[in-house]
Amino acid sequence: MAATNVNPTRMELTRLKNKLVTARRGHKLLKDKRDELMRQFLLLVRENMELRTRVEEEIREANKRFAIAKSGMSEAEVRVAFMNPKQEIQLEMDTRNVMSVDVPVYSYQTRTSDENDVYSYGYAFTSGDLDDGVEHLAAVLPDLLKLAESEKSCQLMAAEIEKTRRRVNALEHVLIPDMEESIKFITMKLDENERSSQIRLMKVKDMMLENAHHYKERMESGT
């Protein structure tokens, strides 16, 4: 592992220790971020699902009406009816920061002051079901925008959670254990070096004493 190719020096040890402290702090922060993101995400995704079911139901209703309307009119007539829409939507996009994820917030303005002013045709040549269909769609529009908002937020947050989770795991299972191992390796190596130099000194001292006093010779001569 990483421990085998580090320099066993005091400088490296200090550097690694500092790095470990930073990594631990980063890990704790990222973990908190992940947990909070997850909490927010789960709330949002539930809301998202609710909205989606409602919107899909409404659109289905509208489509039903359109299908009936179309059965009574030719395609050309329908086309003419919708050729020149009265209403126009101008969308404003703002962003809200949720745990460092910029999620969109939409608000919109209609061109005419009356939001229900959506019928782009005279009623003479069109089927009443067409009006119903348009009405359904107009009613669902605010929810449709909210759906876009929450669904996009979910997508963005999901990506961020995935990223954060990877980082947390990398720190927790790879980076921090590696560093701990390296630190242990260096400490052992340094201790070992210290002991070996201690022994060396003792040995040298013995040798110097031997040279000065010739203990061995004296022992052999028996005096």
Binding site: E56, Q155, A158
Partner: protein
């Protein structure tokens, strides 16, 4: 100032035109056309693109491309042929991506 686009077959989307959304008609089989239109919409100032589930199922790679981008939001809506469940699937995909497995909607 941003705009909203709706993509799909004519029958599914013409109603949205009346509300003031910009409709882009893509009929079945025009897959390449759909990709082209979507790219050009993403480059213009469209913040939301609603796309019918049926059409989105044809160009999944293109739809996925915008998942991580701030703009546009690509949202699936049911078309006239009915609800295929693709839209719900997209939400579940987000959950799976975030949590690792689908813990909320797995029924």
């Amino acid at each position: 100032m941003y705009k909203i686009a709706v993509m799909g077959d004519w029958d599914s989307i013409y109603g949205f035109g009346a509300l003031g959304l910009d409709t882009f008609r893509i009929e079945e089989g025009q897959t390449e056309e759909a990709i082209r239109v979507m790219r050009s919409l993403a480059e213009q100032n469209y913040a939301i693109i609603y796309i019918t589930e049926a059409l989105a199922a044809k160009i999944p790679a293109e739809v996925d491309r915008y998942r991580t981008m701030a703009k546009p939001a690509v949202i699936l809506i049911p078309g006239i042929s009915g609800n295929t469940g693709e839209g719900v699937l997209a939400v579940r995909k987000s959950v799976e991506q975030a949590v690792g497995s689908d813990i909320i909607f797995n029924k």
